[in-house]
């Protein structure tokens, strides 16, 4: 089997979250070293608090302060902390039922080893030095053998409440384009465009996907297409994209390479943008070291007849 390409793909984005009244109070409380829960209709105190009663579905807003001390209800040892976890040395993930709460909060427990952790052990909050209104304002929990702390009865009202957070998300993938596209990409390094022909409908897919989506059969017969092609349709882009270093206006076109069953997308250059037209005959322009043609330019041939390309998407 020929070489299949692989590369890392990192998808990350700093999503923002509006908190709403309950999460706003909870996170602002942490900033002020106050842990808040919410009372349900049946008199339980939920920590962390939620906006809606899990039993009755009613809106709940009755915030109550609970103690920063509590009891471990269950735990798991984390041998190898990963990036952005609460501690960078091995620690226990714990569910802690704080004194005054009926539900448990998930956090980290700083402990020397798994032998020192047990269900039922007493712990207390270790506050972060710098607090901004986030769950990380609790740096972690630590073992505690004193009396339960007394909550001060905070009302849950704060000046300068936190109303939003940034919830950064990151996913690490290993991406592989698969056999058919690897062959296509490898051929591009010789400045050749190679697709695959469907054994059933005989259409040539560029780039190939390894199967024909219309006939539902595998493709394998390689077919070189182009280098010439026809502009089947296009638009003139007048707004600059953040991630692209292309001067506007430019023409973004669908180009059916000669012999291909569908169009690929590319930029048209070497002609004023307002003279580009459907049917224009073009060819690729390569730059040294680039994987794809930099753009396509007119070949000077007469325009293609509408009927020859109108059904090429």
């Amino acid at each position: 089997m020929p070489e299949v390409l692989k590369a890392p793909l990192v998808v990350e984005f700093p999503f923002t979250r509006s908190l709403g009244p309950v999460q706003s109070a909870f996170l602002t409380g942490l900033r002020e070293r106050v842990v808040l829960g919410v009372k349900t209709r049946d008199g339980r105190t939920l920590v962390p608090p939620v906006e809606y009663d899990p039993v009755t579905a009613e809106e709940i807003r009755d915030l109550v302060e609970v103690a920063p001390t509590g009891t471990v209800t269950t735990w798991a040892w984390n041998h190898e902390p990963r990036r952005d976890q609460p501690l960078d040395t091995p620690f226990a993930w714990v569910l802690v039922r704080l004194d005054g709460a009926d539900t448990a909060l998930l956090h980290a427990l700083d402990a020397p080893g798994p032998d020192s952790v047990h269900t039922g052990m007493r712990v207390r909050v270790r506050w972060a030095q710098e607090r901004a209104g986030a769950i990380t304002d609790i740096a972690c929990f630590e073992p505690y053998d004193g009396e339960p702390a007394e909550p001060a009865g905070h009302s849950g009202e704060f000046d300068d409440a936190v109303t939003g957070i940034v919830a950064a998300a990151r996913l690490d993938y290993t991406y592989s384009p698969g056999r058919a596209q690897s062959a296509y990409i490898n051929a591009l390094s010789d400045r050749r465009t190679v697709g695959e022909r469907c054994p059933s409908c005989r259409k040539v897919y560029v780039p190939p996907r390894g199967a024909c989506p219309t006939c539902g059969v595998a493709t394998s017969e390689q077919v070189e297409v182009g280098p010439g092609g026809t502009v089947t349709t296009f638009c003139v882009v007048n707004i600059k994209a953040k991630n692209l270093d292309i001067e506007v206006p430019y023409v973004y076109a669908h180009i059916a390479l000669d012999g291909a069953g569908l169009a690929l997308h590319g930029r048209i250059g070497g002609i004023p943008y307002d003279q580009v037209r459907m049917g224009l005959r073009v060819e690729p322009v390569w730059t040294e070291g680039a994987r794809y043609p930099d753009h396509y330019r007119p070949t000077g041939e007469p325009d293609a007849d509408y009927d020859t390309y109108k059904e090429l998407p």
């Binding site: 984005f13 509006s18 906006e51 579905a57 998300a169 384009p177 089947t232 007048n238 059904e311």
Partner: protein, 388 residues
């Protein structure tokens, strides 16, 4: 055994805006759901199941909304399902909910779709840098603009048609209190003078980016009999899919859209959609999609859709009003946009569309599409129960 007839007895929307910073996502969906329950005069306990839809996960970074939103939607102890079909998701979510009632699995179902575009960046979500692939050179508008040009060439439509659609939809939005854009000083000249972003698409011919949610209460015949307000009855519903790109794809008038409409019309006994349907809420994120979908949905012959727009047939007082609510061009919380189309169609046949009501609307079509014109979902609702 025939299917159980499905009725819409409750509809709720949030006021769509560019950013709802005062509520969490849970608070946003709750607001729409609460309004739908109030409209139906029902409580959380009356709901047997919840079916939700939202935009693709990267659009807002919520991977499992069904876990996070169960308590906000009163779903604890009940079945809760999530539906995914890109931009058409609001429509397909409603159809999945409807099928649960039609199959007599549940008597009353809450269905809801939402998006908080302000908490993410849909453009980023659409253009992840995939290794070895050429970066997308144009974004969403640039993706659709070449198809619009292909339509203009194929149909010979004059350049001005797109601006007529935008001018109409933005004026309709002024009559809809829930619409996002309320451009009180809109004129045709302003639309035509707005900047050309992706020629042939101008700024004023594109949809906004919105935060919003839409909910409906669907129920069976017994539930409809208890409804305090007139129900909308489902007469037909269908979904169709096709690949984004394939040899032979007609991006201007996709086969999946034609097949989906034909299926809905067959179920509803519609032989001439132009004559038999009184109002349409169709998914038009770029103004030119109105004439394109008029043809795809069979309201006009191929190449003739723009003539309906030009003649004013699709205006609020025309003989085939389209997007009375102001449409996606005036309100676009992507994950909810399809359900808003379905709900607005239902509002029309219930006679509850307020200032944007079409007089005497008896049958209305709700339409959604998504992805690269590859997912279609539609329903036809009527003021009278379906004949079974």
């Amino acid at each position: 055994m025939s299917k159980e007839p499905v009725a819409v007895v409750g509809i709720g929307q949030t006021k769509h805006v560019s950013a709802r910073r005062d509520v969490s996502i849970a608070g946003l969906v709750r607001e729409a759901a609460r309004r739908a329950l109030d409209d139906a005069e029902l409580t959380w306990a009356d709901v047997d199941a919840v079916v939700i839809g939202k935009a693709p996960d990267f659009f807002e970074g919520v991977m499992m909304p069904e876990l996070y939103l169960a308590d906000a939607l009163g779903a604890v102890g009940k079945p809760m399902l999530r539906v995914h079909t890109a931009g058409s998701v609001g429509g397909s979510t409603a159809l999945v909910a409807a099928s649960l009632v039609a199959a007599r699995v549940h008597g009353t179902v809450l269905t809801l779709a939402f998006e908080k575009q302000s908490e993410s960046n849909a453009m980023w979500g659409l253009s992840l840098p995939i290794p070895f692939q050429q970066p997308l050179l144009a974004g969403a508008g640039g993706f659709f603009a070449p198809h619009v040009r292909a339509y203009m060439r194929r149909s010979g439509a004059p350049d001005t048609i797109g601006s007529l659609v935008a001018y109409k939809d933005r004026r309709n939005a002024l009559k809809n209190p829930y619409a996002h854009l309320h451009e009180h000083d809109i004129t045709l000249e302003k639309v035509q003078a707005s900047p050309m972003l992706w020629d042939p698409i101008r700024y004023s011919e594109t949809c906004p980016s919105s935060d919003g949610a839409c909910a409906m209460i669907l129920t069976d015949r017994a539930g409809a009999a208890r409804s305090p307000r007139p129900p909308a009855w489902m007469h037909g519903g269908a979904m169709r899919s096709e690949p984004t790109l394939f040899a032979g794809k007609d991006a201007v008038s996709p086969q999946a859209g034609k097949d989906c409409a034909a299926d809905v019309y067959r179920q509803a006994g519609i032989s001439d959609p132009r004559r038999d349907i009184d109002a349409v809420e169709m998914y038009v994120p770029f103004s030119w999609y109105e004439p394109m979908w008029l043809e795809n949905l069979g309201f006009a012959a191929e190449g003739e859709g723009w003539k309906l727009t030009e003649a004013g047939a699709t205006e609020l007082d025309g003989d085939l009003p389209v997007n009375m609510s102001g449409g996606v061009l005036s309100t676009n919380p992507i994950g909810a946009s399809g359900m808003i189309r379905f709900a607005e169609a239902a509002l029309q046949v219930r006679g509850q569309a307020g200032e944007h009501q079409v007089d005497g609307a008896r049958r209305a079509l709700g339409h959604a599409y998504g992805g690269g014109s590859q997912f279609f979902s539609m329903w036809l609702v009527g003021a009278a129960p379906p004949q079974t």
